[in-house]
Structures are given as structure tokens and as C-alpha cells.
């Protein structure tokens, strides 16, 4: 066990999972993750590039992936927005990119789960609530990416990046992944069997090309299989729960804590914590809402996951938003709402049918 901040633990976990390439560009709170990769990858026989911009970072990772290497990139808010074109097309190129979205709050749920880029693509989104889970998810991410040949995004935040915990990064054993016979090494150049890694759906001349239409349909069909097989969710105290709270990531850990405390006080409240944001645990939410009187959604943003919750509940119970925008003065997404007290107050108000207390205001700039 070593005291590590989340950024370091994630970098260590990535390396333990065989990640050998990383490229990034500084932006708070992503910067430290990049720094840890920069320090540790060369020591582990890998490469970390201080890319000159986010666009270049994602391009470099694309290239590394095309050789079959496990590779990752990441950023924050603005930087990830710049990478959206590439994310969309990397999905079409079926490359197993791992993306660290060290977000400022939870305002990037739509971008992460609906694809901020063009097209019908989706990426698997894992939302760890704390460092322990981040260590697990990071390794899982590389496994899922290779299994499905599709990008996997880890949704982190300022807390996950900077909180320090005593952790052990133990490599996780996963079932084998499909062989990467598509990976390029130049060896088939000139043999008539050369390969192409492309988002366009065309193979080399002489081999049957699916063409764009079939390619897009095949990607969507794969996404439907992922939807069926890869949903992950944690629930608690749902039996007889009158009020169900849905929350994810570190705020989900706060909610879990509060709900446990309220249960101890005898309040019939339960929670659903989506672990994969895409595919979203619609069934779990539906089941949880079945006997409930109300569903509350807590997000540190204006309310985005609530769409998915509503799609899961589908009218079975009223769905209310109990989160809100809350941030420090720098916009890093660590505001006064992210605290046990106000969360408790909002959950209780919902539970008792009282009006929600007003959102607390950030008073300090840090």
C-alpha cells in the first residue's frame, strides 16, 4: 500500500494493464495524470509524449494503437471537445483507445455518452467513484477496448485526480482478448496482403470492402451487443425504498454515504450508482423505480444523466433533479454542493416531499 493521488494510481494501473503509449497536453485536472505517465512510462519500456496540443495527442495515440500497442490519451473539457472528431472516427476505425476524461464536474455526461463528435458512434464510459475503483476501471478499460475494438472512456474529475489514498495496484487477470491480426508492422507490405486501418469502411483493393453503409451498420450492431453485455451498476438499499437516488462517480460516493447514514436513521431510501454510463443501466433503474414513489437524480451539473434515468424509469415514478451546478472559483467543479450536508438536505427534502433547499453558493475562489 502506498499513498498515491488518483492520477498516479490510474497511471500505475494503466501501465500494469500493459499500456505502453500515452500522449497528452496539460490542463487541470488532467495535468497530473500526464505527469505520472511521463515519469513512469519510459521506465516501463513505453513512450509518453508531451504532445503540442490535444489534437496532436489524440493523433499520436491513434498511430500507436494502429501498431497494436495499448495506448491512451486524455484531457479535460475543452481539450476533449477538440478531440471529438478523432474519437468518432477512431470508433469507426475500431481502435481500442482508452480515454481519460478528467472532467471539471459532471457537465460532460452528454459529450461522453452521446458522442460529442459526429455520427452514430458510442464509446464505453466507466465512472469510478474513488481511487480503488479507478485502479480497477483503468485496467478494465484496456481489456474492454481490446475485447470490443472500441474506445473506452474513463470519466474522472478533480477529486479523483487529486485525492490521495493508500492503494495497492494489483494487476487484474482478464480473459484473453482477440488477436490483433489487424495491427500494422509493415511486414505485409508488398505481399499482396497488406493491411489498412481506416475509419472509412474500405479494405485494400482485391478484398471485399463492406463499404460505408455496411460498415456503419456493423459498428452499430456491435454497439448493440455491447449494450447487452457490458452494463455495470451498483445498487444499495433498494428493497422497500420509497425514494431512489441515482448518482455516479465521486458524487455517487457521497450519495452512497449519505443514503447509508439515512438508512441507519430509518429512512426508506436506496440508491443506484451507474458504473458504466454507456451502456447505461436502464434495467436497473427501471427495476429500482418499480415500487418507488420517486426517483431523484444527483449530478454536479445542470442535469444530463437525468435523461437516461427518465428513459429507464419511463413514467413508472416521477423523476426529480436534486443536483445542480456547483464549482469553485476556477471552474474545476469542486463546489459547495459536493458535500455531505447539502446532499443530505436535498435527498431528505425530496424524500419528504418538501421543496429543495436552495443551491449553496461558492464563496471562495481557489
Amino acid at each position: 500500500m502506498r499513498l498515491m493521488e488518483g492520477s498516479e494510481a490510474m497511471a500505475e494501473a494503466a501501465i500494469a494493464a500493459g499500456c505502453r503509449f500515452f500522449a497528452g497536453y496539460p490542463m487541470t485536472p488532467f495535468t497530473e495524470l500526464h505527469e505520472h505517465f511521463a515519469r513512469r512510462l519510459p521506465e516501463s519500456g513505453g513512450v509518453c509524449i508531451n504532445a503540442e496540443s490535444e489534437l496532436e495527442a489524440v493523433g499520436m495515440s491513434w498511430g500507436a494503437l494502429a501498431t497494436g500497442a495499448r495506448a491512451a490519451t486524455g484531457s479535460t473539457g475543452q481539450g476533449l471537445s477538440l478531440m471529438q472528431e478523432s474519437f468518432s472516427e477512431i470508433t469507426l476505425a475500431e481502435l481500442p483507445l482508452v480515454i481519460f476524461n478528467m472532467a471539471r464536474g459532471q457537465q460532460d455526461y452528454f459529450q461522453s455518452t452521446r458522442g460529442g463528435g459526429h455520427g452514430d458512434y458510442r464509446q464505453i464510459v466507466l465512472a469510478p467513484m474513488d481511487i480503488g475503483e479507478a485502479v480497477e476501471h483503468t485496467q478494465l478499460a484496456f481489456h474492454l477496448a481490446d475485447t470490443w475494438r472500441t474506445p473506452v472512456l474513463i470519466y474522472g474529475d478533480y477529486l479523483l485526480a487529486h485525492v490521495q489514498e493508500a492503494v495497492d495496484v494489483t494487476p487484474i487477470e482478464f480473459p484473453p482478448v482477440p488477436p490483433k491480426d489487424w495491427a500494422l508492422d509493415g511486414s505485409l507490405t508488398g505481399t499482396g496482403r497488406s493491411r489498412i486501418v481506416s475509419p472509412l469502411g474500405f479494405d485494400k483493393h482485391g478484398r471485399p470492402s463492406e463499404g460505408i453503409e455496411n460498415h456503419l451498420r456493423a459498428i452499430v450492431a456491435k454497439q448493440e451487443r455491447i449494450t447487452a453485455e457490458e452494463v455495470r451498476v451498483e445498487t444499495g438499499y433498494l428493497e422497500d425504498a420509497e425514494t431512489v437516488i441515482v448518482a455516479f462517480g465521486p458524487p455517487g460516493k457521497f450519495v452512497r454515504y449519505v443514503v447509508a447514514a439515512l438508512r441507519a436513521e430509518g429512512e426508506k431510501i436506496g440508491y443506484v450508482r451507474p458504473i458504466t454510463l454507456w451502456p447505461f443501466p436502464y434495467d436497473a433503474v427501471a427495476a429500482a423505480s418499480e415500487g418507488a414513489d420517486r426517483v431523484g437524480v444527483f449530478e454536479i451539473c445542470a442535469g444530463q444523466m437525468i435523461d437516461d434515468v427518465r428513459l429507464g424509469v419511463l413514467g413508472r415514478a416521477p423523476v426529480a433533479f436534486i443536483g445542480g451546478i456547483s464549482t469553485d472559483g476556477s471552474g474545476f467543479g469542486v463546489g459547495p454542493l459536493l458535500d455531505v450536508e447539502p446532499i443530505r438536505a436535498r435527498i431528505l427534502a425530496l424524500h419528504r416531499g418538501e421543496p429543495l433547499p436552495p443551491l449553496p453558493h461558492n464563496e471562495r475562489h481557489f
Binding site: 500500500m1 502506498r2 499513498l3 474513488d130 480503488g132 477529486l159 487529486h162 485525492v163 490521495q164 489514498e165 493508500a166 465521486p250 460516493k253 457521497f254 452512497r256 454515504y257 447509508a260 469542486v334 459536493l338 458535500d339 455531505v340 450536508e341 443530505r344 464563496e363 471562495r364 481557489f366
Partner: protein, 186 residues
């Protein structure tokens, strides 16, 4: 609650983050579960710098930002106001006597005024108050013994600052002994 919470506050330059690191690493060395979160205003001297620390014997349930705390270290009172309401009744509160003027109710909390800066100055390190404080807190709270504390400090000091290790050690011991001699406030 088997999880022990600590809130630290001060102003930039006082060593608050180092103090938290030393306590945290010490606790890890003793096999404890530890969670630490530092919030600081960047390079600016005189700006607020806070940290929260949770220590427990098993996996921690507490989230990293504390609504309430069972103990606190106040190195400076400049940014104390918004934090004061977080103290649980009976919280252990260690204050740096030299730079913390705001009164803290000794009837409600277990307050220990530590002459940290003064003792550090006497040891020849005017800026070392936070180490004295760490020692004092370790003793008063019992979250970590002196050996692990010293080892934790050694891990916390970056390679280009190793020349400070010895002085830090002296200050940690000083604080630890001072607090032990005082007894935990009731």
C-alpha cells in the same frame, strides 16, 4: 465512527500540505487506510491552503470532502471562518498559538493551543511550525506513533529538500513530546 477525520487550514507558506502528507504517510506505514485531499491557492503566498485527512482501520466510506470533522489543525485563522461550523461537538482542535487569534470554544471542543511557531523558532526553524504541529497532533490524536510519523516525513520530503530531514525530525519529536506532556485536552 471508526474513521477519524482531520481538517487542516492555514495560509500559503506555512507548510500545511506537508503537515498533512506527513501524518497521512505515517498512518499508511502503520497499515491504516488513509484518504487525503489538499486544496490550495497555488503559488500565492498568503492565500488559503486547506487539507482534509481521513484515517481508518478498514476501507473508508467517507467521501474526501468533509462536511464535519472530528478534529482540526488551525495554523492560521485567516480562512477559518467558513470551516468553523464543520467541527463536531467534542472535536480535537489544535491551534498554532502564534498565528491563530480567533477564539475557539474550549467547552465545546477539545482545544489545544500549540506554541508551534515559537518552538520551531527556538529549534532554529522559524518556518517549521507545521512539523511541530504534526508531532503534537499525532500524540494528541493517537492516529500514528512517532516512528511511523518520522518515516512518513522522510517519504514526504522531495529529493531536492533532503537537507531538511534532520530538522524536521527534531521538530516532529518536539511537538510529539510537548503534546504528550500536555495530555489530551478534555
Amino acid at each position: 465512527m471508526s474513521e477519524q477525520e482531520l481538517l487542516l487550514t492555514g495560509i500559503g507558506g506555512q507548510g500545511v500540505q506537508l503537515c498533512a502528507q506527513v501524518l497521512a504517510r505515517g498512518a499508511v506505514i502503520e497499515g491504516k487506510h488513509v484518504m487525503l485531499f489538499g486544496v490550495y491557492g497555488g503559488a500565492m503566498r498568503g492565500m488559503n491552503t486547506d487539507a482534509t485527512l481521513v484515517v481508518g482501520d478498514g476501507p473508508l466510506l467517507s467521501p474526501p470532502l468533509l462536511s464535519h470533522t472530528g478534529s482540526a489543525i488551525g495554523m492560521h485563522d485567516k480562512f477559518w471562518r467558513p470551516l468553523a461550523p464543520k467541527l463536531r461537538d467534542g472535536a480535537l482542535v489544535l491551534l498554532n498559538d502564534d498565528t491563530f487569534d480567533t477564539p475557539v470554544d474550549p467547552n465545546r471542543y477539545r482545544v489545544l493551543r500549540v506554541p508551534a511557531t515559537e518552538r520551531a523558532s527556538e529549534l532554529g526553524h522559524a518556518l517549521g511550525g507545521s512539523m511541530v504541529m504534526a508531532g503534537a497532533y499525532a500524540a494528541a490524536s493517537g492516529i500514528v506513533g512517532i516512528d511511523a510519523l518520522l518515516a512518513g516525513m522522510r517519504e514526504s520530503v522531495p529529493s531536492y529538500r533532503t537537507q531538511h530531514i534532520e530538522a524536521n525530525e527534531r521538530m516532529l519529536r518536539d511537538g510529539f513530546e510537548w503534546a504528550t506532556s500536555q495530555g489530551v485536552p478534555a
